[in-house]
Amino acid sequence: MKGMITDIQRFSVHDGPGIRTTVFLKGCSNRCAWCHNPETFSLKPQLEFFPEHCIGCGRCFTVCPEGVHRMEHDVHVVKQELCIGCGRCADSCYSHALVITGRQVTVEDVLEQIRMDEPYYKRSGGGITLSGGEPVLQWEFAKELLKQCKEAGIHTALQTAGNYDFKYLKELLPYLDLVMYDIKAFSEDIYAKVIHGDRVRILANLKSLDGIGIPIIVRTPVIGSVNDSGQEIEDITAYLADLKNLVHYMLIPYHGLGKVKYDALGMEYQNSFYTPGEEQIQQLEKIAARQVQVYNIERGYING
């Protein structure tokens, strides 16, 4: 069983309880315009180019079968659209100016990394988290990985944005201890403009998930100029209010740290979002707290 991942992050302390290892799976069915992990959009390996690291050795020119690397006006230009993701140029680039994001791994490969930090999970109540991208798109791989973790007594969590047929998520649920479910917006207008996902399906899947009985944390990334209105948060939390297994709700402020990745991938970076201030977040949290338990990572439960 093989899967396509972008990264395995150890000592991950923001993706569930305790000290965790987070596995980032590649491929996403939402591809939100503000996403700071654009390398996870595609299910395929992609080439990233960091020109500031290039030492001009020229090795990439000789190994690339597709003519991706060119000199134009004495500048190393990467034609991303020609790249087939074979990784030959990145393998030969010791300065790390060229990096392939996305690598195919077996469940055993990932488990080897996970097991390294197993003693910390036990001490801290941590475990593993599957993130992405949308991990459920690779449900077969995810299922096998989660199953083996459960068998090893490792706490398991999933970060998902819900844009898929529920039957795939259902396959994973027997092996999950916690689901962190992103509701990025409620209004149809936002979905139409900046989220590729199917609004109705995302919202319905959350209700279906709640019917199973697994603890759920719902999170909303608060994107300045997109979903940062009180009405939007009120609408989302009204929808959450009757969930039986909601542990808490969290608002996560947008940050614009993804630009360097967009540049490296040759993708256009939409720079029209802003980071909401602390005061605004607190106001939104108060609105949310009228209907659900709200948790702030620095202040804890704000409902008291």
């Binding site: 302390v13 080897e112 003693p119 801290s124």
Partner: protein, 716 residues
């Protein structure tokens, strides 16, 4: 004037500390070591240095003790008006310098340089833990009586040893007496009623302490400051041992009699103690008999004083299976609040190691963290920690040289065979030096201060380095583990397996310091590193550590034990300056790797992870009882988050579970550390744990600050 609150008093001594720090930098430039609390007095101390007639050197008990007594006689007095205690030291007396010509072992110095051995241990001083309980029970007068009693009882043919020890105690008493006179004079002329009363109390307290043992907590701590000051002045030692247990009986007695009614008073005492010195010592730990935790209210008050003063200090919290959860929680709370705090000495690896070195568990539990990276049995062990190091990387370069000079097969195993030979030779040189040291040190530079606080030297009339104490464990730390391990892995991957380079090409690029070979350097540097987990470099690191540990653990020719550890101190630049380019892509003269830590950016993609780092260090720890410390820098965001404290506690405990020995932690934001590096004056009170010791960031040289910054940058 109103009586200042205890917090006002602490704030006042902190201001003075920051002024002193600036004065030191203005006067002497930056400094990369623990400052140990020395005070920048205005004038140099004018004293007579006594030399031996025969050697013309300050060697031997008589010359050394007379010189040191002269130094104490000339040393100025100091009392901070807001401090609970009198006394401070200006610097070390000039009692160091060369040994007698017939006792020098200089013939191997060239060979040591060849092996990049810069600290041989031989000729070194201190780095031993005293048992302060001896002093607290006897007082200076009692120590004097003890010396005189045993001189009479033993009737030695030559009384030089006892005469010298007596001279030092009398000089100390005289120095204290001058503080009494000064405090009395101040009490007469001082207009501020609090300061006047404080000076009177200090005068009364010290008048008693000249001859008598301490009766109260304040007197006990005052006694410790005198000890620490004279021990610092004599070769810069300073270890207080299990501090909470030393002070607990005094605290409990003061509480019982009602002498102390407000714990804040004790916090003030503790802060004043730490103003006097950074005081290497331990709080929390194990009862020797059954391992139950010995933390007490006193442990908390020491921690509280450290937190409220928040200047460099060197208290360790002992981590073990039955630790005091509340005390640990408080340690981490203050770590988050202050950015640094206690270091975490771990019984998991230390006890197992010491037992592996042949000692019972009860002794392992008693071996307290009382030095930068090191532990010692207070008052019963001569261990000479932290002054002896071998380089693990230079022998690899010598091995490569050997292979290039022969026509034989070149392989990883032939390289390893040569490497083993050179590591053995490094260890032999160290051990021969340590044997020599144990043979002749007492004739040249006796441990005149620590002899007083050990079980045996006075009773036997023998220096602690020469049979005065029952247990002798010499120490040697290895440096440059990651540099060596990553180099082995790079050779294996690119010369032996993929054959991208021939042995000759590798040798040539190293000889040329990678000039014109940047691509090759980057290729070698791209080898999966030590620390990433399950890499070949991890295997090499373990193999190298095991080799060093096995060879160093063999007894010396004279049958002495040497306990190995892996520790570079902060001296990665010093050790790197004499090391040519290495096959891990490191340039000639660049710093070596830090202690047993993987190099910054060791994970694939250039990041790092505290768990990976801790696994790596625990995996290569020498199981000897000596330390292989782990240096960790945590982003302050975690400190602001719910559950962050629990995460760090779990992390430390897991390191202990895995056999770790010592963890040093900083918590600071990347932005702050970068700003402070750029403009140190902007954060004059930023304290960082450089390694086993903490220091004002501002007082560090640009090179040392860079070392801390590099770790942060690698965290991404």
């Amino acid at each position: 004037m109103m009586t200042p609150s205890f917090n006002d008093r602490i704030a006042s001594i902190k201001r003075t500390k920051l002024e002193f720090n600036q004065e030191k930098i203005d006067r002497n430039g930056t400094y990369d070591n623990d400052d140990h609390g020395w005070v920048p007095f205005s004038n140099p101390i004018d004293y007579e240095k006594v030399l031996e007639e025969k050697s013309g050197l300050c060697t031997g008990m008589e010359a050394v003790s007379r010189t040191f007594a002269n130094y104490l006689d000339a040393h100025p007095v100091y009392i901070h008006p807001m401090s609970a205690f009198a006394g401070a030291w200006a610097g070390t007396a000039e009692v160091g310098g060369p040994w007698r010509p017939e006792h020098r072992m200089d013939e191997i110095e060239d060979e040591c340089r060849r092996y990049n051995i810069q600290m041989r241990g031989i000729y070194a001083m201190n780095h031993v833990g005293g048992d302060l309980k001896i002093g607290l029970e006897l007082g200076w007068g009692g120590l004097l009586k003890k010396i005189r009693y045993y001189r009479e009882f033993n009737q030695p043919e030559v009384t030089e040893f006892y005469d010298g020890e007596e001279r030092i105690v009398i000089a100390t008493q005289n120095w204290i007496r001058r503080h009494v006179d000064y405090a009395r004079a101040q009490a007469v002329t001082e207009t501020d009623s609090f300061v006047r009363e404080n000076m009177r109390e200090i005068a009364d307290m010290n008048e008693w302490l000249i001859e008598n043992p301490p009766r109260t907590l304040r007197e006990a701590m005052q006694f410790l400051t005198w000890f620490q000051s004279i021990d610092r002045m004599y070769f810069t030692n300073g270890s207080l041992g299990q501090l909470d247990e030393l002070l607990r009986p005094f605290y409990e007695a003061d509480i019982a009699t009602g002498r102390i009614q407000d714990d804040d008073e004790v916090v003030w005492y503790t802060a004043c103690l730490l103003f006097n010195d950074t005081h290497y010592s331990q709080i929390g730990g194990e009862n020797p008999a059954d391992g139950h935790d010995i933390a007490s209210r006193m442990s908390f008050l020491i921690l509280e004083g450290m937190h409220r003063l928040n200047i460099p200090s060197n208290i360790a919290f002992r981590v073990h299976d039955r630790l005091n959860e509340e005390l640990m929680d408080r340690c981490v709370e203050y770590l988050f609040a202050d950015g640094t705090g206690v270091c975490y000495s771990c019984s998991g690896g230390l006890n197992k190691g010491f037992m592996n070195s042949g000692y019972p568990e009860a002794l392992a539990r008693m071996r307290a963290k009382v030095g930068c990276n090191w532990t010692a049995l207070p008052g019963i062990e001569y261990c000479l920690q932290d002054v002896t190091r071998i380089c693990l990387a230079k022998p690899l370069l010598l091995s490569l040289e050997d292979l290039m000079e022969t026509d034989g097969e070149k392989s990883m195993e032939s390289l390893w065979e040569r490497y083993s030979y050179h590591i053995r030779r490094s260890c032999e040189m160290i051990k021969d030096g340590l044997d020599w040291h144990l043979e002749y040190k007492h004739l040249n530079k006796p441990e005149i201060v620590l002899n007083l606080f050990a079980h045996g030297p006075i009773e036997r009339g023998v220096d602690m380095s020469h049979g005065g104490v029952d247990i002798v464990n010499m120490a040697c730390d290895a440096t440059a583990l990651a540099t060596a391990a990553d180099s082995f892995a790079a050779i294996e991957q690119f010369v032996v397996q993929s054959k991208r380079l021939s042995w000759e090409e590798l040798y040539t690029v190293l000889q040329n310091n990678y000039a014109g070979a940047e691509e090759i350097r980057l290729m070698l540097k791209s080898t999966p590193r030590y620390g990433a987990g399950n890499t070949r470099a991890d295997d090499w690191a373990k193999r190298i550590s095991d080799l060093f540990s096995a060879i160093m653990s063999e007894p010396t020719k004279n049958g002495h034990k040497v306990l190995p550890g892996i520790f570079s101190h902060g001296s990665v630049f010093m050790h790197g300056k004499n090391l040519p380019a290495t096959p891990n892509g490191r340039y000639d003269s660049d710093p070596i790797s830090h202690s047993a830590d993987p190099d910054p950016g060791f994970l694939p993609g250039g990041g790092t992870a505290p768990t990976a780092k801790a696994n790596a260090v625990a995996g290569v720890t020498c199981v000897s009882g000596n330390s292989t410390p782990l240096q960790i820098d945590i982003d302050s965001r975690l400190a602001q988050e719910m559950g962050g404290r629990e995460i760090i506690k779990s992390y430390i405990k897991t390191f202990n579970d895995m056999g770790g020995t010592l963890m040093n932690i900083n918590v600071v934001s990347k932005q702050k550390i970068l700003e402070a590096h750029k403009d140190p004056d902007r954060y004059p009170d930023l304290v960082v744990r450089v390694t086993g010791y903490s220091a004002f960031f501002k007082s560090l040289s640009a090179e040392y600050r860079q070392q801390v910054v590099d770790r942060w940058i690698a965290q991404g």
